[in-house]
Subunit: 612 residues, 2 copies
Amino acid sequence: MTEGSVETIAGIANQLRIHSIASTTAAGSGHPTSCCSAADLVAALFFGHMRYDPKNPRYANNDRFILSKGHAAPLLYAAWAETGLFPASELLKLRELTSDIEGHPTPRLPFVDVASGSLGQGLSAGVGMALCAKLDQLDHRIYVLLGDGECAEGSVWEAASLAGTYKLNNLVAVVDVNRLGQSQATAFGHDLAVYEKRFASFGWRTEVIDGHDVDEILEVLAAAGLGDQPLAILAKTWKGAGVPLTQDKDGWHGKPLPKDEAEKAVAALKPNSMSGATVPIFPPNHLPAPKNEAPASYPPLAYKKGDQVATREAYGNALARIGEVDQRIVALDGDTKNSTYAEKFLKKFPGRFFECFIAEQNMVGVALGFGTRGKIPFASTFAAFFSRAHDQIRMAGHSQGNIKLAGSHVGVSIGEDGGSQMGLEDLGLMRAINGSVVLYPSDAVCAEKLVEEMTRTRGIGYLRTSRPKTPVIYDNGDSFPVGGAKILRQTSTDKVTVVAAGVTLFEALKAADELAKEGITITVVDAYSIKPLAKDAIKAAAQKTRNLVITVEDHYPEGGLGDAVAGELSADGIRVHKLAVYECPRSGKPEELLAKYGIDAAAIVKKVKALG
Amino acid sequence: MTEGSVETIAGIANQLRIHSIASTTAAGSGHPTSCCSAADLVAALFFGHMRYDPKNPRYANNDRFILSKGHAAPLLYAAWAETGLFPASELLKLRELTSDIEGHPTPRLPFVDVASGSLGQGLSAGVGMALCAKLDQLDHRIYVLLGDGECAEGSVWEAASLAGTYKLNNLVAVVDVNRLGQSQATAFGHDLAVYEKRFASFGWRTEVIDGHDVDEILEVLAAAGLGDQPLAILAKTWKGAGVPLTQDKDGWHGKPLPKDEAEKAVAALKPNSMSGATVPIFPPNHLPAPKNEAPASYPPLAYKKGDQVATREAYGNALARIGEVDQRIVALDGDTKNSTYAEKFLKKFPGRFFECFIAEQNMVGVALGFGTRGKIPFASTFAAFFSRAHDQIRMAGHSQGNIKLAGSHVGVSIGEDGGSQMGLEDLGLMRAINGSVVLYPSDAVCAEKLVEEMTRTRGIGYLRTSRPKTPVIYDNGDSFPVGGAKILRQTSTDKVTVVAAGVTLFEALKAADELAKEGITITVVDAYSIKPLAKDAIKAAAQKTRNLVITVEDHYPEGGLGDAVAGELSADGIRVHKLAVYECPRSGKPEELLAKYGIDAAAIVKKVKALG
């Protein structure tokens, strides 16, 4: 095993530049200058430092590389092509519909763990992976390449802070400080001391280097892992480096070189370029693979019907119960664990619980990182505060991520704390995530079973839990498949189908009892699976009630249960009348607020009667 | 004019503690210990330092106070009661449905500029207010009280960085470092050097003090405004300070004292307490009020039908055009101004443009701050990246804020950059904001007129602009009221109503032309106002086409145009068939992607035929 010499690596860097220029010019779009600034850093990492099996990019103990500055995708593709993973000719298909070599990296490619392209998110995923490596007793490191512009994103500092707190010495951030953003110079230009002081104050060891000096790059990389701090390498670079036309010039962000200029640039780089094909790559250590198997089954439940248990507490019970037999489960929380009940998991499995403090964006990114390493991360906070992490959740969708989010304290039923604490748009936000599963239990049994379902359903899962205690209404043995619904009341004379979930289900049941006294019967459906919706079951019920549906939700009228039912069933002629929270709510008692905003039993009774 | 003595202020601080304890115990919920830690700081600010007219909390040149740690609301209410603004007896109505003294502060109260309660947002609003004060040549200062726990939020560091960059020496952050979070100690406890180094590295002047030493507090406050940096006062405090039962004790977050303990605590504090009523408050300087009047009209447009102009470019044109006559307009962007075309405003009015760099959360918070001071802030970035700021937008809703957001680069029509750059959930996210207006123009005339409408419509406005050029189809004199729609094709024999907006409108028109060749006619509606939706117009059109509607949107199927139409009209028996982007899209050419994901003219033709 010999490492690539400095000259070899500098030559490979130019080869990466050539690929980046050629592929973006062929595509007619892309960011070659953002690739050129980081070419020496990437060449040094891939061909002179990182330990990995280039034939098996998913191997568990490979060093990981995250391209947080995702617009430098052509550089990443070029590096992997040069390792021999795929032919370099593929690079010229950049951005074509039929190619996985996309404009920004996605895990459609085997060497991409997390999609990037929304800036400032890679470091959080890196923190998750670094925590996971320590949990799994693996000795690989995680390298995250950031741009200087993206360091304006607060999420970078959330991640930096947690990495410092957890002393993640297996995490390395490399900041490509090329001075130029998309539309102008960054706030700090080449004042690298600014970045150095910031990372240092967030608990990192720092090194300031010339990002085009391969010798210096290798030297600071060689000291990665020393001490008990994460390492930030702050590299002064030139945007468009290696191409006189573009180097350190304004106006070249996100622009390919014209064909003639590209040819000129490639011709000039060629004599000093070198293929990576013959360079031996440091292999990873072969350590026991982490035990990430699904258990055969989960321990049974033991609730009694009529017990008063908040679904948020059932969530905590479920984590503690299934965590016993499922080593894949890890839990994260943002300093709300005594409200979300994630603390029940912490108490039983302190080694698999990660306090993320009040930094929800990073918490979701950390979860995403754990998910890429075979874990099933459950992250919890108040539902309203997941809106803080919506871009991270969106990108987790593009990442084909496997993360489970539990949002507590939803709707006006939280009461006195007031509007800012009420999740009133979370169903809409989570439904709008591609491929998401959105679940909303009404009782403890359903909540626990849905947590189990979330472990079996790969992807972005969301569990909406409630603050108030509600009675157990289901049997411990009942099952709640994703995409299902429960019909709780139904007779042949029902006038309307009421579809509810969570706290409003109990209002619907109360309304049914009230109406029954007057001889009016209604169908009541528990739509615990908001997405996918039990379309057929709800349709069948509605068709027996004159196609009339009333939806009742402790949520704003947009994007939630009502829109889901209407959006899926209006094409079939189902008429959906929505009861929802139509105003910005105030502080008050839960029952006062349910009444004031028209989603309690009385409002349902009134609506049923109005429909004649 | 004499300032309150140190003893007086310490006495008032205890009075604030008494109010905070009494009101939360009366309410049966709330955060008295989070009030007690900051009581001396707040007493010193309100009664020994800030310059304001306590009878007129909205006066333009008052010093502003933002309670970023919103859960300390009872302390804020107590301070204003002690200034004499309202009777202290009102404090005991804390959290009652009929009282504006809510669980967390909202602008239902005249002394609250921005709602708080989602942590880490106050400093951004403060940056906006500080920038606005400088713009308006007012000499008041902005004081933001933060908790230590909330400094984990990245948005704090986004705001801190911008404040440093713009050298906002009229901004003061006071951090109440009380060591204890909600569920455990913060990551740094009482290690105040951590906070000091962080703020210093973000460009702030720092002072570390004992937050219970009124003398020291007043001394560092007296030096506020010196130099050209914002000032961070890092105050070591005890959570629950002044009450032996709770001081520096775990387990007291968000818990009122039991009645007997509250009485004991009040009795102990009473002898050392003092009313604020007799303390003279420093008055503000009376300076000319900023000119924030609406102009009588805006200059006319001069497009030619058939011109190819992207709506994003029309957005830039509109800002530059109306900015000429409307001094209220300010513009912000997150280093995308050459893509969103906000740069057109920058070039004309550099003094009213604020580059916020790649930090969307803070950008929205800064906009919110400007909005509270009578400006109409337009903030732009890629639509996808507004998801980064969703919690800030949500809280802007609770703040009754007046901010205008323009999201460009929406849907698969952006093409090659790939999924991470495509706004595919923005309509859903923005519809889910209480009281929001969501607009989606298809041509340049409509885009410009909608920008005008946004200035006339107070609240959270969102304009969805597109990347590709589209032909001008409207007359320069056409009007586009919020809540309207345009019927572009309609005959008495139409088989179905196609509702589209943005790029899909042109696909619908193409489809209509294709179908016409086969003798099939359809109604085509431009639903440029997604929220409020032109419910009556669309219903009337649909009722003439067998109640059949096809919606076509360059957006995911959840929460967008299709759900809006179905959610509003299914109750009336309108049947809505949704065409939308049902998968996570890839890179490719815009027209390829519109076809692949089934939202082009061919897909519409096919769907119309399928409906028979």
